[in-house]
């Protein structure tokens, strides 16, 4: 089966380079970074040098000018070797996408080249302690100064990937009244006065992807760092999430593939009752289901990527891809542990880590319950 069926020559060439990088550099380094709970900044920088930190963005801002589909296939490939590194790329992309689509030319010229080169790392800040799925209820305030030249940010953000590590933050805050129309988006740099970081989250997995609280205590942000118009922030945030969901679908597929490959290799080598366990039908059927689900997840996210590249309305389809691929990753990684038996539960083998990594995929960028809401509401309204 040609896994890359339907991709252009150009895309295949890029993937070949990425595969080599993943095999030679990223995958061997993954366990070390996970163990140390350290962001693989050097590997991210290397992705930047390869032109992979801004794949779908305009060439005039330093992007690669590639279709979104190219970016998704790269994410899948990286995730199959070093999951947290793919996550870094995905969150970086999410943070830049709102600026790329809605930002003023001068703001784009100022920040995008540094993001596309991989010199700077981006973070996306929407969630707060009491507003997760219900993001429109966020409370961080951004009050415009009397002369209109700046905003003062006060409040905090929770569960922010790259918090404290990134140089660039796309932050959603309330400039107006309650509800989604009172929210605006800002670009904020690390090091600005009144902008600090809270505690590092201790998580079940994703250890090489640090997550911190962001604290704003009267942080002054110049008015030109407002992305789009006042009140447009929630639209910007959601547009980013539509793309982000496809990214998570691609990451999920890569993670599932890694777990599946490990399970097949183990099942071929491990003998019980006088034959390799892969020859037992109960196990073979489990592997057959895993393979089928992974291939379906891959076809789905790639097709929705093509829909996005063609300019179609892909919001509902992106939710479907994220829901299906992350549920697949959860099931496949759990079954990969099961195929390994006792060995699967030990940290000596990678599959218990894959299983811990998969769980968060059903939670981030909109829980799978929110994806079902997005899909279901469209059905109810049309």
């Amino acid at each position: 089966m040609d896994r890359d069926f339907g991709l252009t020559e150009d895309q295949r060439e890029i993937l070949a380079a990425v595969r080599e990088f993943v095999r030679e550099k990223a995958a061997p380094a993954a366990p070390g970074y996970e163990e140390k709970h350290e962001l693989p900044r050097d590997l991210f920088r290397r992705l930047g040098e390869m032109g992979l930190a801004g794949i779908p963005y305009d060439e005039r801002y330093g992007g690669a000018g590639q279709p979104f589909l190219t970016y998704l296939t790269v994410l899948e490939e990286v995730a199959s070797g070093f999951f947290s590194l793919a996550l870094t790329l995905s969150v970086h992309h999410l943070s830049a996408s709102g600026l790329h689509r809605f930002g003023s030319d001068s703001l784009k010229e100022k920040y995008l080249p540094r993001l596309c080169s991989g010199e700077w790392l981006g973070a996306y800040a929407l969630s707060e302690a009491s507003s997760g799925s219900d993001a429109a209820s966020l409370r961080t305030r951004a009050d415009r100064s009397g002369d209109g030249s700046s905003y003062r940010l006060t409040g905090s953000k929770r569960f922010i990937t790259h918090g404290g590590e990134a140089e660039y933050y796309l932050v959603m805050a309330r400039t107006g009244g309650e509800g989604p129309s009172g929210i605006s988006a800002f670009v904020i740099e690390r090091g600005w006065e009144g902008f600090d970081f809270g505690k590092l989250e201790e998580k079940m997995g994703w250890h090489a992807s640090p997550m911190r609280e962001l604290l704003f205590e009267g942080c002054q942000v110049p008015a030109e760092n407002l992305v789009g118009d006042e009140g447009e922030g929630f639209t910007i945030a959601l547009a980013g999430l539509d793309s982000g969901r496809l990214g998570i679908a691609a990451c999920s597929t890569g993670l599932a593939q890694a777990a599946f490959d490990a399970a097949v290799a183990f099942a071929r080598e491990r003998s019980q009752f006088g034959k390799p366990i892969i020859e037992f039908q109960g196990l073979q059927f489990m592997l057959a289901d895993m393979a089928t689900q992974i291939e379906a997840a891959r076809r789905l996210y790639r097709e929705v990527g093509r829909l996005r590249d063609a300019g179609g309305d892909y919001s509902q389809a992106a939710s479907m891809a994220k829901l299906f691929a992350s549920d697949t990753a959860m099931r496949v990684t759990t079954d990969a542990v099961q195929v390994h038996g006792g060995y699967g539960y030990m940290q000596e083998y990678p599959v218990e880590r894959y299983m811990r990594e998969a769980k968060a995929l059903q939670i981030v960028e909109g829980t799978n319950q929110i994806q079902r809401m997005v899909i279901g509401r469209r059905l109810a309204s049309s």
């Binding site: 997760g132 799925s133 109960g282 759990t334 542990v337 218990e352 299983m355 319950q369």
Partner: protein
């Protein structure tokens, strides 16, 4: 037929629950983090008599319903499954000893497995090897007779309590030509030369539980230390040489302990379910508690139902283990259902907590990690399905 628990059961339930709530739950996260063996908790359990030979010999053995042990297991695992395995891990070698041992052996070794309330000890049953997990008949650890001693050689892995135990019961092959019927269990007493713990495993969950490699190099034990005695072993092997295969005693003993393992899984599931329900009542999204959104409410309804179903299968199997026998693999059914339920319920609980489910500020992610072992150890889910389906083919 009566579905009410007796006064005695309810007393046991309250007694163990109180201990789990006061002494286990508050330190669960700490032991999960450090992976240390919970000796202080075991000492407290020994002081109140929960960790004691008397608990097994009186409360458990004299309970006509078979429910006392599962009830105690569920409550302890509600506190922390890793710590519970420290407390109940000695039950495994004890049952191997009690099931086939001579009265003299039981009198001599059972007290040594537990130590005293002031100085508690634990024991370990060593069965699994690198190439013999589900396939117990493939054991390579050997027991060679040399005069009035047995000489044990081999490598055991994944032994619960292995690195902490004073008394080890080691399953080894005496006659490799007889498959599992050529195997026997050997008692290795405290500080016997030739037995040493190897690598201690780092695990996904149940991290308070010691899971260790045990290395046996020319480990010599007295002839009488074969469980059941040397005459019985000789008679068993003689019979095996002349007759066709029957189910081994070891496997039958495993089958009898399955409801207890199932009850542990139910305890974890219930802990996560209770926590998620409370959270769903308190957490607001879109202007109301999330328990009022059907997407969450229906999940909780299914969780409640699955836990009850698993517990009822567990109680039935526990009752049958005491009052009859398994005709339709009821023990395996209880373990399979409870293990799968624990994984599913704890996963749903993480999902209900959302981002808070994934971080270590809350206990739910730990319960999820702990639960997965219940589809693997004491017979994987696949082995349970083999046992159940073979019963179908046989009946």
């Amino acid at each position: 037929m009566d579905f009410q628990l007796s006064e005695d059961h309810i007393t046991t339930q309250k007694w163990v629950h109180e201990f789990a709530e006061k002494e286990i739950r508050p330190v669960a996260a700490q032991y999960d983090e450090t992976e240390e063996f919970p000796w202080p908790v075991i000492k407290k359990a020994a002081e109140i008599g929960l960790y004691s030979l008397e608990f097994y010999m009186e409360s458990v053995a004299q309970d006509p319903t078979g429910l006392v042990l599962p009830i105690a297991m569920e409550e302890t695992c509600w506190g922390c499954a890793g710590i519970a395995l420290g407390i109940f891990g000695t039950g495994l070698p004890l049952s191997a000893l009690a099931y086939s041992g001579t009265p003299d052996q039981i009198m001599k070794w059972a007290p040594q497995m537990f130590g005293t309330p002031n100085e508690p000890r634990v024991a370990s049953l060593c069965v699994t090897e690198p190439n013999a997990g589900s396939d117990v008949s493939a054991l390579r650890t050997s027991a060679r007779r040399d005069g009035d001693e047995w000489v044990l050689n081999g490598q055991k892995i994944f032994a619960t309590n292995g690195g902490q135990a004073k008394v080890h019961i080691v399953v080894a092959t005496v006659d490799p030509n007889l498959g599992h019927r050529g195997q026997a269990a050997f008692i290795v007493g405290p500080d016997t030369p030739g037995l040493r713990p190897g690598k201690k495993e780092k695990k996904l969950g149940i991290r308070a539980s010691d899971t260790s490699e045990i290395l046996l190099e020319e480990c010599r034990v007295p002839l009488d230390n074969v469980v059941g005695g040397p005459e019985k072993l000789e008679a068993k092997m003689e019979k095996a040489r002349s007759s066709s295969t029957k189910q081994s005693a070891a496997l039958k003993a495993f089958e009898m302990t399955r409801p207890s393992v199932a009850a542990q899984a139910v305890g974890i599931a219930r802990a996560a379910f209770e926590f998620a329900t409370q959270y769903a009542k308190e957490r607001n999204t879109f202007g109301r508690p999330i328990i009022e959104h059907e997407g969450v409410a229906f999940k909780l309804a299914d969780m409640a139902m699955e836990i009850d179903a698993a517990r009822l299968l567990t109680y039935r199997a526990a009752w049958l283990a005491r009052n009859g026998t398994f005709e339709h693999a009821e023990g395996s059914m209880s373990k399979l259902k409870a293990g799968e339920t624990a994984v599913w319920v704890t996963e749903q609980a993480v999902q209900i907590l959302g981002g808070y489910g994934y971080i270590k500020d809350f206990p739910v992610e730990k319960w999820y990690r702990d639960a997965k072992i219940y589809t693997i150890f004491e017979g994987t889910s696949e082995i349970q399905r083999i046992v159940i389906s073979r019963a179908l083919a046989r009946n």
